[in-house]
Chain length 262, copies 4
Amino acid sequence: MWLSTRCVLAFDILAPTPFVLMLRARSGAQQWIASETYMLTPSVPVFEFTDGYGNLCQRLTAPPGDFEVITTAEVMTADQVDRGRGAPFVEIQDLPDATLGYLLPSRYCESDRFHEMASAITAGQRLGYDQVLAITDWLRNSVNFQPGSSDAPVSAAEVNSRRFGVCRDLAHLGIALCRSLSIPARMVVGYLHQLEPMDMHAWFEAYLGGRWYTFDATQVELHGGYVSVGYGRDAADVAVYSQFGPPVYPKVQTVEVKRIQR
Amino acid sequence: MWLSTRCVLAFDILAPTPFVLMLRARSGAQQWIASETYMLTPSVPVFEFTDGYGNLCQRLTAPPGDFEVITTAEVMTADQVDRGRGAPFVEIQDLPDATLGYLLPSRYCESDRFHEMASAITAGQRLGYDQVLAITDWLRNSVNFQPGSSDAPVSAAEVNSRRFGVCRDLAHLGIALCRSLSIPARMVVGYLHQLEPMDMHAWFEAYLGGRWYTFDATQVELHGGYVSVGYGRDAADVAVYSQFGPPVYPKVQTVEVKRIQR
Amino acid sequence: MWLSTRCVLAFDILAPTPFVLMLRARSGAQQWIASETYMLTPSVPVFEFTDGYGNLCQRLTAPPGDFEVITTAEVMTADQVDRGRGAPFVEIQDLPDATLGYLLPSRYCESDRFHEMASAITAGQRLGYDQVLAITDWLRNSVNFQPGSSDAPVSAAEVNSRRFGVCRDLAHLGIALCRSLSIPARMVVGYLHQLEPMDMHAWFEAYLGGRWYTFDATQVELHGGYVSVGYGRDAADVAVYSQFGPPVYPKVQTVEVKRIQR
Amino acid sequence: MWLSTRCVLAFDILAPTPFVLMLRARSGAQQWIASETYMLTPSVPVFEFTDGYGNLCQRLTAPPGDFEVITTAEVMTADQVDRGRGAPFVEIQDLPDATLGYLLPSRYCESDRFHEMASAITAGQRLGYDQVLAITDWLRNSVNFQPGSSDAPVSAAEVNSRRFGVCRDLAHLGIALCRSLSIPARMVVGYLHQLEPMDMHAWFEAYLGGRWYTFDATQVELHGGYVSVGYGRDAADVAVYSQFGPPVYPKVQTVEVKRIQR
């Protein structure tokens, strides 16, 4: 399906503030960016670089006053997410080098602490896809998805103890559980068509049977319409904006995802 | 200045043909891509990757029949090219690791054969910027810039013996001369505002005084309006399209670069 | 000075166990590896790769039974660590792209929680080197260095609350404090001449005035004799060995560092 | 088999001369470096970096006078080279991104000029391994392997017209022929046990059926005992030493490869 995405961020800047933005989606195996726009008001010099995960990042210093970022894209994405049912667990020694980093614990995914719990959740499942499905089902049933319930990211251990959270929180716990079973898992941020309420979204991918598959415990059923913007170990790597100096919060953050004909 | 660029390529494909395209400009220190579009007709699956030089490349297989690629961009680029007058030669031991590859000879730049000639052309010049300026001036005076005079790339040695060529040819000879003096030099393809006749353009950059500077022997004087699309050692690395199997030539290749207000 | 290093790890393996080892030091700006050996008993197939931080990693599957890894090296390293006194804070917008990842919180360095504390510790200091020196002095005075006091890594927040730890723990807290002040900081594991008691060691580096400088709160005074083996965000990235499946602990882990003449 | 390798290079340096050396073998899928030494006399500061092909390179400035480089290694390598008989041609659209660069023409491999010739040599062969075998057989029969017959690298086109050459020359022509058939091919330099006369050696690899396979037209039959030191597009990328400024030739270049017991 063809989607049009639009994200507006507006800040009230007090002092010149360095930003790193991650708001430019890239074409990849699962999506094709047919057009995009990236507007900064006021216009300031921007330097773009590719981070260690392959994400395009934009560096700039926002001047005092109103500062607005608007990005849009027209994206061809899959009608159905490839579910990968039956994709097997990949033995450690057969994992590609580049996936090994996604087995390690990270800031918000203390996978070193979840082995016992993950084993219990996936008891009796075939190794691989069925394990991750069991983890996602467990998350859906056990952790209350409450959009807007947290501002700052909290870690998988905290999510597990309080049992509610935003999309990012469910993804963190899912990732930690997968990694604790030696299944590489990574965070994705981006857009999802028909997300309720609409906002930037976060989900996770697990590496099974030789490729990455999408999992999302916030949705009753996986449907198409995902647009990836950034990949990383967890939310620390894929902040849509990182800002340095005194904290600055967006006074406006609006996201639109519409189906379009092309 | 703000520029709008547009490139149309149309092919008449006989059998399914794998392509690698390099037609997506990236934001960088010298330019900011505020919007872009990339249309393929008919629509086919595309996989995008970043090559070893940081260029975004698009892989696809064109189906038999008419196949059209249209890319557009709106780009903020410098009004004036930074000339770097006086930028010094960087001693080999002080060059960043990543520039060393641009000292080596490459397919179309046999820099291992030009040391004597380059020394003669730059005799009496201060090391660094003045050498590259002397090389560019020599190219402008000695190699006849004849747009449309060649299809397939020829190498610097051949350009030197026939003394005429397209923009790519002048760049190849310039690069070979620079490298023979231990000045890192690389090829750039992209767009140039007010190029006559309008087409994709090629020029080169030399690494001096700690950064890359633009040189272009096809222009009487360096003015602003350059939009970079790809970087590499020479034309072998930065083909706007590489096609595999029986040769296929575009039946249409049109380029537009216009100044716009934003 | 010339140092000879030797590390012996011996395991009692119950079932075939995949390992990733990080035990091959690399030559770099601060050290030159003149010779090295890497012995596995029994001999098994090993695949070496470079991780995202540039570390050489060795992948293998240990067979059941005794499994021994012995690595040695002869290394030229600095007599004195370059202290960098006076090296200034680098403004965010001037940091190299590759250092930005070292500003982010990571598994064991929750830098997002230390800004207030770091500001207090460094109050009145000039931005840059003096801040990191104040942090290191504070660590030395406030966190009890107790070799052998912990097995599994604990995070900076936990170190801060219990106020004792192994070298790794002090480094984690130092890194978290630096990052909370927007100073890039990274973990280093390796060897230190005359470390008491001798073992693998961990310390940290901070990016100041355009380069990385060494800091080590476990030593009363910085002296020469550091040999780096791995770099990363924190201990999660630079485990000397990572093992998958049921936990396996070395029954022998001995380290020797001797001064030699060459 | 276990091999011990040793390479001695000695230069008579007139003025301080920057060098880039590529003399440190790395462990990989086909070989394991169990020990190595790297001696420079006189001792000078060295900076090691990884080039764009993954090779470890050593940068240094040789002082005037005698300058000697001695490297040794003990290497486990395959008893038999994996021949890959029957490995199929990989369709362009299925090639890994990282192999695409090895389809492009390069300084000494003008693959853009060999399609007709390669088609003739491989006429009637099944696509893939059999094609490369036919190319290697043709090289063996048609290009006279004459060790010592050239100093400076010459290109595939020149080798094809003169029909004799050193190992590097045969490899260049083999690579150019493979690439002209859309088979990725790359240069390897290193050691070969029982090479006659003993020296550094060069051969090539072709990407077939999902991996790289070794080919060597200088040997009547492929046998084990290869030790890779560097990979690249052609000799321009894998010079054992690159030196800048007035040319300097080694007054001594000796290589030993011995079978050892371990």
